[in-house]
Symmetry: C2
Subunit: 314 residues, 2 copies
DNA sequence: CTGTTAGCGCGTTCAG
DNA sequence: CTGAACGCGCTAACAG
């Protein structure tokens, strides 16, 4: 008991006894068992469960870093799982996290159903969604200004005089894919520029698929003079294809707007406008939302934070 | 008790009772408390502590992914911490991990002392080091073939006729920085090409510093005709500087060899040879080493796995 | 200021 | 096949 009190800060323990305790702790290599500590109901475990879709994507690595930083500032540790866009894996991770008594959950949901995330299934474990929403689930959420960013990016192409603007993006079941396409459509509609479905490609989840889509786009009868790419993977694919054609001597020189930054964008063979944002900040924001919930500092209803994006011209 | 038995597989429980249990579990949203489960000594917690230096680096994101994958295959979860190359933070993370009863530790050590990693401090928690070694600590380790890769990369430049080859790398206290420089030196020595310290820069930890170093290198009296870059961060910095000079009209066209891959390397204004390797595989290998130790399948002594690298010419 | 009692949720062990 | 007793390490609550 005296040991417990000492390690808990030393209230009501004689200083000399505290010292003897600390000495023994060092000597024996004693570590307090954190799991036993949180056995008693109501005691926090100090753990936060984090499930993201793809750690190999630098975007999510930065996101995880942001979460980890804020968690550390609050003396918490994170349990990390990778879902790989797999519903079943997400469900499994969430139940395991709950079984391990996490104090809260931060999730980049894979676009499935919401059954396993309902409050009644989660008990009183607070949940924060990041990057994407889950239909029918009204909880704290951190998003990017996808629609606004895509809208402004597309507008910049229209302002430059382009009227044939191709689109490359995620499949529409992906939340961000849908939103970014909406921003593109809104800008086009607003300016009365028709959208040609033959140069809109919305099914590419990796660089290889994006390269193929770009190929098809430039092989079309009336190829676009500009491309809006809705994410990093599609941008890399598009530029890879454009670069190949330029090396092969094709007189091709489309303008590119990319949602998501990438390194050395200034050295590309065509000018690239970047819609930039900070994944680490998104992670920090998600964690901040969660901890305000845990501290009881939060307001009642579910909150949504939408982080701004910035546009960087070449 | 019957519930416990049912959830443990159902041995010695009547099938109809099992069904009623499962039904109630679903109805009540019951989750077995994994922490209480591992309270009894000798019971594994199913947790692995992972500490890496910088999650924002895609290399370590991939590494973490590899570890997570193998851990998941073994029914384990990972506790993830970011050290940011900070000794104190690493010590703190390790003790917390032990307090949480992790079954094992995987660590990309920050180059400090080894006191807190000694077996007597760790109890019987097995430790695997990745990417780097800790002086005086003889444990299971997964490394890349840094020396060999740097050696072969440098040779390829010498074979192409270059005799003034600059070097950009990490500070020498970083284990991989030291090893990659050794490979460079070995190749130069072997061919009798003198190393000019005025074009050897070994102190750059980020892109900005690398850009400055490249600037100094090309501003030197007798600038190099080729550059060996010891890691991704230095490569990006070097190419950024080279690209800027080419755009400004300088008649500059150095060959570049880069330890670490990066996207769109084929579109660079100068040809880039890449020494490529798989961080995810490194993570998988580290986890495999750890679990073989946990299963008791491992041999006695500490093992070192050195993963090969591949050289990709432009 | 220090020690005792009790109970958190689980699984091992032993009785029925 | 099912249940009761016990103890894992810890701390809130209550003596002393």
């Amino acid at each position: 008991m005296t040991v417990s009190r000492t390690l808990a800060g030393g209230r009501n323990v004689r200083p000399d006894v505290q010292e003897r305790v600390m000495e023994a702790v060092k000597e024996l290599g004693y570590y307090r068992n954190e799991n036993a500590r949180s056995l008693r109901p109501g005691q926090p475990s100090g753990l936060v469960g984090v499930a993201i879709t793809n750690l190999a994507n630098p975007y999510y690595g930065n996101f995880a870093l942001g979460v980890e930083e804020v968690a550390a500032e609050h003396g918490r540790r994170i349990l990390l799982g990778n879902t790989g866009e797999d519903d079943a894996r997400e469900r499994q991770l969430v139940s395991d996290f709950i079984g391990r008594q996490v104090d809260g959950l931060i999730l980049v949901p894979t676009s499935g159903d919401a059954e396993h995330l309902r409050p009644e299934r989660l008990g009183d474990v607070p949940l924060v969604l990041a990057s994407r929403r889950v239909p029918g689930l009204d909880v704290d959420t951190v998003l990017l200004d996808d629609v606004g960013g895509a809208y402004r990016g597309t507008l910049s192409l229209l302002d430059a005089g382009h009227t044939r603007i191709g689109f490359l993006g995620n499949r529409s079941s992906v939340f961000t894919g849908e939103r970014r396409c909406r921003g593109y459509e809104r800008a086009m509609l607003e300016r009365g520029v028709p959208i040609d479905p033959r140069i809109v490609f919305r099914d590419q989840q990796d660089v290889a698929a994006a390269t193929r889509a770009a190929k098809a786009m430039f092989d079309a009868a009336d190829p676009p003079t500009a491309v809006f790419s809705a994410n990093n993977r599609n941008t890399i694919g598009a530029i890879r294809e454009i670069g190949r054609r330029i090396r092969d001597g094709e007189p091709l020189h489309p303008a590119v707007v990319s949602f998501d930054d990438f390194e050395l964008s200034e050295l590309m063979p065509v000018p690239v406008t970047v819609i930039d944002h900070d994944a680490r900040l998104l992670g920090r924001e998600a964690a901040t939302l969660l901890f305000s919930r845990l501290d009881g500092t939060a307001e009642d209803g579910p909150r949504t934070v939408e982080l701004p994006v910035s546009i960087e011209f070449p």
